[in-house]
Symmetry: C2
């Protein structure tokens, strides 16, 4: 079965995370992704640890299933090669700082002349416009500025970064949506266009009820740990060997939960009889629930709560996640075999199609692995010419 993006050709000029995450999704869905890298060094993230047999696990994970060619974009012959690639492509993705592509003579206005059907996507920290446009961006700085840290953590004095680089990743997925929507527009009109996605904008877009609460009240919400602002118990609680997340959305569930932990009388306490009371008196209720639950291990409670249909789940670390029957059944960690590093576990594809196939299509490429195929077969450069360009350091 072919991928839903079968036949789509993507020129991938991205590095590190946001852009590569976007083109990884395109590759998983069947697009041909041609990663254009600097000769000798390639994508910066090839040098990021951890390493397996000298190969970056980070790079290998987010660049699986892509092809790699090397091009020195500052050399006139390299620029000509890139323009030739663009002529035969549907999509180009880059995540340079605004202005870099223009300096290279490869901005959208130029590339549109070469290929009016091209969808050109730029993923940046702050976007192509606005006063901060030229600033460098790091996930930490964008998470700080974008509001998510101000609502994550135990309390207002401890704003907390999300453990994965969500501002890069959200920029990657929104860029992917922009590209696919622009392709839809092209199907109708024949015209390509530019798509401009900023990490900061993406973080604003995903704040959901924090913005709604601010809009309704004028007050900025603060972090409240793992609790829910208006439902209790809806939090993490402590078993003898670790924590569980428990969600009791109504009085009947709370009674059932209390019966199961041997505290069946708690709902008769006036403070805890209603959801409103439980929210207001959580500081008194939480230690009682933790005390009762700490008598038994997680596995015991999971079994008991599941039978009683109380929504709950363990706080899985990555090893527990990798062993989880649902994660295994959905093939959400898969092995790819890299020619140098060997077998490596990478996340699977979180979109399952009934009539197409989205899957991890192969390992990440070694630098320039596809130079002969793309420059030879695709662009028609013979072996002598390719050797000459390699000699000069153009490819």
């Amino acid at each position: 079965m072919s991928g839903p993006l079968e036949g789509l050709v993507v020129i991938d000029m991205t590095r590190v995370l946001a852009g590569p995450f976007c083109t990884m999704m395109l590759a998983d869905m069947g697009a041909e992704v041609i990663k254009v890298e600097r000769p000798s060094t390639g994508d910066d993230s090839r040098a990021f640890g951890p390493f397996v047999k000298g190969e970056s696990a980070y790079f290998m994970s987010v660049n699986r299933g892509k092809k790699s060619v090397t091009v020195d974009l500052k050399a006139p012959e390299g620029k000509a090669l890139l323009l030739d690639l663009v002529r035969k492509a549907d999509v180009l993705v880059e995540n340079f700082k605004p202005g870099v592509m223009k300096k290279l003579g490869l901005d959208y206005a130029t590339l549109r002349e070469v290929n009016p059907r091209l969808v050109y996507a730029a993923s940046t920290g702050f976007g192509q416009s606005g006063p901060y446009s030229a600033r460098p961006a790091y996930d930490l700085v964008i998470q700080a500025m974008g509001g998510v840290m101000s609502i994550t953590g135990p309390d207002a004095d401890h704003p907390t970064k999300v453990g994965s680089s969500v501002s890069d990743i959200f920029a990657g997925v929104f860029t992917c949506i922009g590209i696919l929507a622009a392709l839809n527009h092209r199907h109708r009109t024949g015209q390509g266009q530019m798509v401009d996605v900023a990490m900061l904008d993406c973080m604003v877009a995903i704040l959901e009820n924090a913005v709604a609460r601010y809009a309704a009240s004028g007050q900025s919400p603060a972090p409240i740990g793992n609790r829910h602002p208006s439902i209790a118990p809806f939090s993490t609680l402590k078993a003898s060997d670790g924590m569980l997340a428990i969600a009791c959305g109504n009085d009947a569930l709370f009674q059932r939960f209390c019966d199961l932990i041997g505290q069946g009388d708690l709902p008769q306490d006036d403070r805890f009889a209603t959801n409103r009371g439980r929210v207001d008196n959580w500081a008194a209720l939480e230690p009682m629930l933790n005390e009762a639950m700490s008598q038994k291990p997680k596995a015991h409670w999971m079994e008991v709560f599941e039978k009683a249909a109380i929504p709950c789940g363990p706080i899985n670390d990555i090893a527990a996640l990798a062993a989880d029957p649902q994660v295994i059944a959905r093939q959400m960690l898969v092995e790819v075999v890299h020619p140098i590093a060997g077998a490596l576990a990478v996340p699977g594809v979180p979109i399952k199609f009934s009539g197409s196939e989205a899957k991890v299509r192969g390992p990440a490429p070694v630098l320039g692995a596809n130079n002969d195929e793309i420059f030879g077969t695709r662009l028609g450069l013979d072996e002598t010419r390719r050797a000459e360009l390699k000699e000069k350091g153009v490819i």
Copy 2:
């Protein structure tokens, strides 16, 4: 200028967050989104606080720009109406628990018979397959099970939930990607298909270097607060009136940073001379940096650091974010005027197109606001028939 999804008709059977976030993006990009709601009560989230003049700010935010019709799907006449809508639609999105659509006689196998071009997307907690498929899902439980909590927070004993409902939101954006990719496939083949997205799968997909580190070492990474595992200073630090995020990726930046905070000798200390040393001795270095920075307010440091090109940013709360010049320039908080609630701030669209327009197209609909338009004009039911169906509670 029209949206990139102009002309696309979407039947929206979603509730609360993951599904509605997906169809919100489709509406922002110009699709006609027809939200099908239960008569009388509608989407559960219409009852979620906070409220503005009795209207849910939460509902209004994530359902802007959609149309609303009411249909009792359990009534045979209601089911017939839904099938009529499906005949004229491109996409159907639902986020019921697996099995619910089948019980209603509206599963994909049935709807495909009615409209083979239909793209049918289901967004659920655990997916259409696997041992947990039938379980109820809440964002808290999925964040716990999905690994993100195990890498977020101050240390291993305090796994921390992300403040916004990222497992719902990632499911929404990945569902959107699946729909757009399936439409691309349909352009080529004429065939629709089913798209199956699970919140848990999405959380695995976004763990990035946590999975890479686990794959390389076999060890589960633990939360490390706001620090970077292998770069220092790359963290939040304390000014006199709040915190800033600072990213000094190399020795030259660190020296410049130390000069600016009046601690120019620190890089001469053997413990802090190299990045490796700073990472290993962060427990000693952090209090010295905090002590120096706590002498002046955030605004002072931001000005000084920006001039010196040291990557940095304030930890904005929602009010600060709303006042940020970049957020304003990029129109990332916009006002919509609701017929009952009045003006309300909602997040803008984080994808900017050069040749199409993505924008917040209007307020969220009041329940059943488009019954006459859709059932009358679109499906051709005359006023008498519509009154009859309303009388019976079918619409």
